[in-house]
């Protein structure tokens, strides 16, 4: 087990390195740079003036040098600063990661808490009204884009209740209740899709498992219905569900962008997109590398979790 984990961890290094190179290259392939984005051509800045700003920002170095500096910085913990605001990247990340992390955690908790029971119910009560309603709700959840849900929630909130979540970010360590009031609707908005996905996946695998021989055996030996469903069937159905959730957590870290923009929450996705518009290279590179790293580690975590859920998978 330890060797397996160590091996997987070692594999992470070349993955992350390759990724950093890819991200660096893609970012630099974007036409225009931070100076163009800042100037937008209208103030009559001369080419010489622009070149001076580029030199001051360290953009005049050859690209390989800039790449090496970036990697050096990441390895030594000196992440550099935003090219536009001058704010240290570490500060930007310290603000953005908790926001998106909290959104992702809330969304996953919500999706699991609602999606799995619904999926089980739907499978056990197959072809009943409950099943039908759950399946329709699931289909709707898959089809509704999160930004539409978010906009609708704002519209209903402002028109009917004259209330929308507070607009400026409230850190949970300052005011947990205020924070939850602020995060609840965005979290629901991004969890709807995941919830539906989890529900459908749980239902599908439950149905499959419920038809297997060992379930019949369990029933035959007189296990209670509750025990059959939860101890025997559900646990064996969870592997694909965990895969789905794990994959989505990675997605949620960067994919909640539109919802973050709508609710004015300066999370990872928002920061990344703003960075791209402003051609703020360090911000783009570091946040993209962070998101990629999260993806890699969550995949690793999911693989390890398989073993916990199903001991047969645990590598010898």
């Amino acid at each position: 087990m330890t060797r397996y984990v160590a091996g997987r961890l070692l594999l992470v290094i070349p993955t992350l390195l390759g990724m950093s190179l890819l991200i660096f290259a893609l970012v630099r392939l974007l036409p225009g740079d931070v100076v163009d984005a800042m100037l937008t051509g209208d103030v009559g800045a001369s080419a010489g003036a622009k070149a001076a700003v580029r030199r001051a920002l360290g953009l005049a170095d050859p690209l390989p040098v800039q790449y090496v500096k970036l990697i050096e910085g990441v390895l030594s913990g000196r992440l550099g600063a935003s090219l536009t605001s001058g704010e240290p990247i570490s500060g930007i990340m310290a603000r953005a990661i908790p926001i998106t992390g909290e959104l992702a955690v809330l969304a996953v908790v919500l999706a699991t808490a609602v999606g799995i029971p619904l999926g089980v119910l739907s499978a056990v009560r197959r072809n009943t009204w409950a099943d039908l309603i759950a399946r329709i709700a699931g289909l709707a959840g898959l089809s509704v884009p999160n930004f539409w849900f978010a906009t609708l929630a704002l519209l209903v909130g402002s028109l009917v209740f004259h209330w929308i979540p507070p607009v400026t970010w409230i850190p949970p360590w300052q005011d947990l209740w205020g924070n939850l009031r602020q995060m609840a609707i965005p979290a629901v908005a991004i969890s709807v899709y995941l919830m539906a996905n989890v529900m459908r996946m749980t239902r599908g695998t439950m149905l499959e498992v419920l038809g297997l021989d060992y379930i019949r055996t369990a029933r035959a030996k007189g296990a209670s219905a509750r025990s059959v469903v939860f101890r025997h069937a559900l646990r064996n159905s969870l592997i694909p569900v965990i895969t789905v959730i794990g994959f989505q957590v990675g997605n949620l870290m960067g994919g909640a962008t539109v919802v973050e923009v709508i609710f004015g929450l300066p999370g990872m996705g928002y920061t990344l997109v703003q960075g791209i518009f402003g051609r703020d290279y360090p911000v783009i590179e570091i946040s993209a590398m962070f998101l990629a790293a999260v993806f890699v580690f969550i995949n690793l975590l999911v693989d390890l979790l398989y073993g916990v859920v199903d001991p047969r998978i645990a590598p010898a």
């Binding site: 225009g32 051509g41 003036a49 001076a52 605001s85 402002s158 929308i164 928002y270 703003q274």
Partner: protein, 544 residues
């Protein structure tokens, strides 16, 4: 071009307080907004309302408001920043020697008075007893430090073309400053009044703090905190030199990019005011808790052409004249802006007395005349037309929508336009380098009317990038005459003629000027649309 999307004309401001616009009124205003006479009628009503209400209710002190900005300031450096959102913040925190009143008249700010003994000398008497937010008293040394630094702003500031021809700044005594010009330059007063590139900061401030995220000005509000991508907190400057101002205890400037979120914020009361589109005004107009402020932006939409003398057919002035004559600007206004825009000369409508009046634009200079356009194409020997690529800014969408309308219109004279929407970074790069045939873009606010013609300054970066093949002797000599002439009365005819040249020779093709809206909650009194697109109105605004 991009970030300066919010300049407003107080002259046509209507419904300033106590009245929201219905859809019908909006449409009518849009249609009527044609002639200056119509504008004058609008003004009359609006001013009357505003003045009457101001007299009726005495302003109160106290309370804080949340204002939603449409994009992040990115950084707050006082010098060399070109981001319009940053200007919204700095205009509440910093001040310059002069300021503009609501109709663009130059008024005293940190300077109490000024004299122009000769065309190369400006003398400013400074206000006594002013203190920076840090407590440091303000004096002439601060002015010299600031004006010197503005010329070559420290990074990330960028040297820009608006800095007047100031050769040296002389400190005469602690409350007197004399500017020595290297050549006569009439842009000085406008440059100082605009403030955008001319704030005054305490001597040595750049060595003491990171001005991208901190500030120390003399303005009515102090910067408490700037959280990028989230919000900026401002608090009343209790030691402000004008004891009546500001009236609010504090302002939170929150970035809410999504228009629907801003609309919801207004309705729910989470925000007290923001900028919205015409469509949202139509939705919000009926809400009794909200008031609609309407004005003109000084950000006119314009089509640029590169004229390099490399054999492109539009190097020929006749072809450019045909293009403009074939463009139906009213159709652009109706289709892209739902009727809510005006024709624009090279100096946009509402910019003081300078622009060519709307009636003349419609009847003469920018008249839609297809037969004439066809004739001009025939005269130029290109009746068969040609193909051209028109780059447009992809977002906001109106630049591309304008391009699409133009594409359809120019089909009539056999010009085959390919519209190419580009993300702003790419667009800006092409714009700066002149890497385009035609572009659908916008031009912004200027401190002085000469600024609208700086593209044609033969020493400027734009002229080199776009106009290598374009020479107009009269335009160039009038451009310099206008810069050297200090007297507004004598400058007026110069800038009238400059506009005429552009609107007949068409090195650039000014199109239209969209209207500009802000919506505020009714509890916020005395707010107005500032011409320069800032929220300066908040300085004197107060909560009921």
């Amino acid at each position: 071009m991009m970030r300066r999307h919010r300049t407003t004309d107080p002259i046509v401001e209507s419904g300033a307080r106590g009245r929201s616009l219905t859809r019908r009124e909006l449409v009518r205003a849009g249609l009527a907004a044609g002639g200056t006479a119509a504008i004058a009628r609008l003004v009359g009503g609006a001013r009357g309302i505003a003045v009457a209400e101001a007299a009726a209710a005495a302003p109160k002190r106290g309370g804080t408001v949340t204002w939603a900005m449409t994009s992040d300031p990115a950084q707050l450096a006082p010098f060399g920043g070109v981001n319009g959102s940053a200007f919204e913040i700095t205009s509440l925190v910093y001040e310059s020697l002069l300021a503009w009143d609501r109709s663009l008249k130059v008024i005293p700010a940190l300077a109490e008075s000024w004299q122009i003994p000769d065309s190369r000398t400006y003398v400013f008497k400074l206000r006594r007893g002013v203190k920076f937010h840090s407590g440091k008293p303000f004096d002439a040394e601060d002015v010299k430090y600031s004006l010197d630094l503005q010329k070559t702003p420290p990074p990330p500031g960028v040297v820009q073309g608006f800095y007047p021809k100031i050769a040296s700044v002389e400190v005469v005594d602690p409350l007197t400053v004399r500017l020595h010009m290297s050549e006569p330059d009439a842009t000085v007063l406008g440059y100082l009044a605009w403030g955008r590139y001319s704030w005054i900061i305490p001597k040595g401030l750049y060595d003491r703090m990171d001005l991208r995220t901190h500030a120390d000005g003399t303005g009515p509000f102090k910067l408490v905190e700037y959280v990028p991508n989230d919000h900026t907190t401002l608090a009343r400057n209790a030691a402000y030199w004008n004891p009546d101002l500001p009236r609010l205890d504090g302002i939170t400037m929150k970035v809410l990019q999504d228009e629907q979120a801003r609309v919801a914020g207004l309705r729910s009361g989470a925000i007290d005011g923001t900028t919205v589109s015409t469509d949202s005004v139509r939705i919000l107009g009926g809400d009794p808790s909200l008031a609609v402020l309407k004005g003109l932006t000084a950000v006119f939409r314009e089509m640029e052409m590169t004229i390099r003398g490399d054999g492109k057919l539009w190097d020929n002035a006749k072809v450019r004249q045909a293009v403009s004559a074939a463009i139906n600007r009213q159709e652009i206004i109706d289709k892209v802006y739902g009727g809510d825009a005006l024709y624009s000369s090279k100096i946009p409508p509402g910019y003081g007395d300078w622009p060519i009046p709307d009636s003349a634009l419609k009847s003469t200079y920018q008249k839609f005349d297809l037969p004439r356009a066809k004739q001009l194409m025939a005269d130029a020997g290109v009746a068969g037309g040609f193909s051209v690529t028109l780059q447009s800014i992809a977002h906001p969408q109106d630049y591309t929508q304008i391009a699409e309308v133009i594409k359809e219109q120019l089909r009539q004279i056999n010009i085959n336009v390919t519209v190419q929407p580009l993300e702003i970074g790419t667009f800006a790069k092409n714009n700066g380098e002149g890497a385009f045939e035609w572009q659908s873009t916008g031009r912004g606010m200027r401190g002085d009317p000469s600024g609208f013609f700086s593209d044609f300054d033969p020493t400027g970066a734009i002229d080199k990038a776009w106009y290598r093949g374009y020479h107009n002797q009269e335009l160039t000599s009038l451009y310099y005459q206008g810069l050297h002439e200090p007297l507004p009365v004598k400058r007026l005819p110069i800038y009238r003629r400059l506009q005429e040249i552009v609107l007949t020779d068409w090195p650039a093709v000014p199109l239209v000027n969209p209207m500009y809206y802000q919506v505020v909650r009714r509890r916020l009194n005395g707010m107005y649309l500032a011409y320069d697109g800032t929220e300066r109105g908040l300085i004197a605004a107060w909560l009921a």
